[in-house]
């Protein structure tokens, strides 16, 4: 279930959501809730806050299905980027809620937000990389096997084991590449607007573009990874 849905599935889902089909919303939740919740939890480190962020993400998608642009990438990465945006927005507000606010503190908050974003991006990359790379990292890191043992366990050559470990880490390291733009406008305002049914507007679509950019690095990395998987 960790893999991307097909472009056809994504487009169909978008149409069904736009049509106001409650059953589609349920399917969307079933498909992505665990991703959304775990990313939000990685950023916010709190169950209740992650629940609230999850509500906000699905509300946003339900109310703004047209904000998703299939040309920018799969729905899964759009939702991951949206989650990250919403969760970091909430983290920022929570931090600011802690009283007086000097420029130094502001910088501290931003640092925290950046670290949380990186961690969430890394999680997303790990869940999105081909299972073969994930398995190699799992053996070498969590089970402390050396690459020769890893190769043996996976039934591949030592060369291939080295290649997978290096490639897996390369993908993961793209999480540390910060988006070059300054912190983008928060979408949480849009998500919690009371304008029920106000889909489409300028805010929605520009948000969509910005979001895909936010996860640009992971996007590219994961794209590469998928290409590799297909070859295997």
């Amino acid at each position: 279930m960790a893999n991307d849905t097909s472009p056809r599935w994504d487009r169909k889902m978008q149409q069904r959501l736009a049509r106001g089909e409650a059953a589609a919303l349920g399917e969307l939740y079933d498909r992505f809730a665990s991703l959304v919740h775990s990313l939000a939890h990685r950023v916010l480190d709190d169950d209740e806050a992650a629940d609230a962020a999850t509500r906000e993400v699905f509300s946003y998608v339900w109310e703004n299905p047209h904000a998703f642009d299939p040309r920018e990438g799969p729905m899964r990465s759009w939702i991951a980027a949206l989650t990250q945006r919403i969760a970091t927005g909430r983290l920022r507000r929570r931090q600011r809620g802690h009283g007086p606010y000097s420029p130094e503190q502001a910088e501290l908050v931003e640092e925290k937000v950046r670290a949380a974003s990186t961690a969430a991006r890394a999680d997303y990359i790990v869940t999105s990389m081909p299972a073969s790379l994930r398995a190699a990292l799992e053996l070498a890191y969590f089970q402390r096997r050396d690459y020769r043992q890893t190769a043996e366990r996976l039934g591949v050559t030592e060369d291939e084991a080295r290649r997978r470990l290096r490639l897996g880490l390369q993908l993961l390291s793209s999480a540390m590449t910060q988006p070059t733009a300054p912190p983008p406008p928060e979408v949480d305002g849009a998500g919690s607007s009371d304008g029920a049914g106000s889909s489409g507007g300028g805010a929605g679509s520009s948000g969509g573009v910005g979001l895909s950019h936010g996860l640009g690095s992971a996007h590219g990395g994961v794209g590469t990874a998928h290409g590799l998987e297909r070859r295997q």
């Binding site: 665990s34 890394a122 969590f142 080295r162 540390m176």
Partner: protein, 421 residues
């Protein structure tokens, strides 16, 4: 987050000029091999000699040093996956919140909501299941009308069972019957339009008839299809896709479905009740699975639980009558005219989702009325459901009982008899 194994990342090395990239390093390894080792090195997954060779190389080669640093930092981003379970009740809250803010043009009917919620809850339980857990033994238990019955299968077998029996409902909505001759899992798409019945998509031709009727026959047929396959996780996707399709179709069909009936072979149910029946089954089997793999599993939401108890309570008069016809229960005390008030049992179900039901005892057609109450049974909602699932023998149901013993016995046995494989 566990600390990354290995020491501190190496300091960015100086880059003395004069070292060709192809020059063999100190360990006799060339740049290309050393570069390929960088991932393993960052993970502390190479031999001591290789580690030394890589580290010596890093002081000479700027590109490798830069990459080594990056990969070592990436290792710091790996961490054990949180075993945080998503609160299963969050789904209902999230969806409700969404639907308030933007009311759906095509809602899921209220009577299909428990099926939607219960299948999602079970699917969430299955999500992280390891292969070994799919093969975990599960004992299915029910009450066959006279005594307790049981059947052994696996977690995957349970999902196959749910899939096969849900398949009774699917054709009523215009979806393919997964067990229909020639329509293997995956539906009619797997055969060409002109293909005759003779060519089954399933291995072996085991369905000579058109439709395999009845939950038991369907389950046995599905299990027999491929004894290997139903022991794997493959059943999950079939079951899940069919469930999503059912919810979707029923949303679009809503207004027209009131008269639809689903045949279970020996009896049939209105479509709306069949969805409740399938929700109940899904919940009970989810509990069987949760027990088998030692996971906690809670009850459905109160509103849904109430609909499920109501379905069972409404089926009691017909079941009592059926037991009488089969000689399993004594004949009625008096023959009540249809529509006339008759002897009544007051069923009080306590706890969330509970309520009061008045069960006519003399005939399903008789009117129940509080004035004609001859017995009162009180029990907890979850207990009642366990009874109706055949998990608690009727004589052991810990019910508060008051009044006519025979009436109480008839009702408790009828409740247990609602269960089946």
């Amino acid at each position: 987050m566990p600390a990354a194994p290995g020491g501190e990342p190496p300091a960015p090395p100086p880059t003395p000029a004069g070292y060709g990239h192809g020059a063999p390093g100190p360990g006799g390894l060339d740049h290309k091999v050393l570069k390929s080792l960088l991932g393993a090195w960052a993970l502390a997954a190479c031999s001591a000699e290789e580690t030394a060779a890589v580290e010596a190389h890093l002081t000479d080669c700027a590109t490798c040093a830069e990459e080594a640093l990056r990969l070592r930092d990436a290792v710091g981003l790996l961490h054990a996956e949180d075993s945080l379970d998503l609160d299963p009740m969050l789904r209902t809250r999230v969806l409700e919140g969404c639907l308030v803010r933007r009311p759906p043009r095509i809602p899921v009917p209220d009577w299909a909501a428990p099926y939607d919620a219960e299948t999602a809850r079970l699917d969430a339980l299955l999500r992280d299941m390891a292969d070994a857990e799919w093969r975990a033994p599960v004992r299915l238990r029910w009450f066959d009308g006279e005594r307790e019955a049981e059947r052994d299968t696996t977690v995957a077998g349970v999902i196959g069972h749910l899939f096969a029996v849900d398949g009774l409902v699917a054709p009523v909505l215009g979806l393919p019957d997964p067990l229909r001759h020639g329509e293997g899992p995956g539906g009619p798409a797997r055969r060409s339009p002109g293909e005759a019945r003779g060519a089954a998509a399933f291995p072996g031709e085991i369905f000579p008839g058109d439709v395999v009727q009845g939950p038991v026959a369907r389950t046995e047929a599905f299990w027999a299809l491929d004894p290997g396959e139903h022991h794997t996780a493959a059943a999950r996707e079939l079951w899940r896709d069919q469930g999503h399709a059912m919810i979707r179709h029923v949303s679009f069909a809503e207004g027209d479905t009131a008269d639809f009936r689903v045949s279970y072979g020996e009896f049939d149910l209105p479509l709306h009740d069949a969805f409740l029946d399938r929700a109940f089954e899904c919940w009970m089997h989810a509990e069987d699975i949760a027990d088998a793999v030692d996971y906690p599993y809670g009850p459905p939401a109160a509103g849904h639980l109430n609909l499920l108890v109501d379905l069972a309570a409404r089926q009691l008069p017909g079941t009592i009558a059926g037991r009488r016809r089969a000689g399993l229960a004594p004949p009625p005390r008096k023959l009540a005219a249809a529509g006339a008030p008759g002897r009544t049992l007051h069923l009080e179900v306590e706890g969330s989702g509970g309520g009061h039901w008045y069960i006519p005892l003399d005939s399903p057609g008789a009117d129940a009325s509080p004035e004609e109450e001859v017995a009162h049974v009180a029990l907890d909602g979850l207990e009642f459901c366990q009874l109706a699932a055949g998990h608690v023998p009727p004589q052991d149901a810990a019910a508060g009982q008051d009044g006519d013993r025979e009436a109480i016995r008839d009702v408790l046995f009828a409740a247990a008899s609602l269960s089946r494989l």
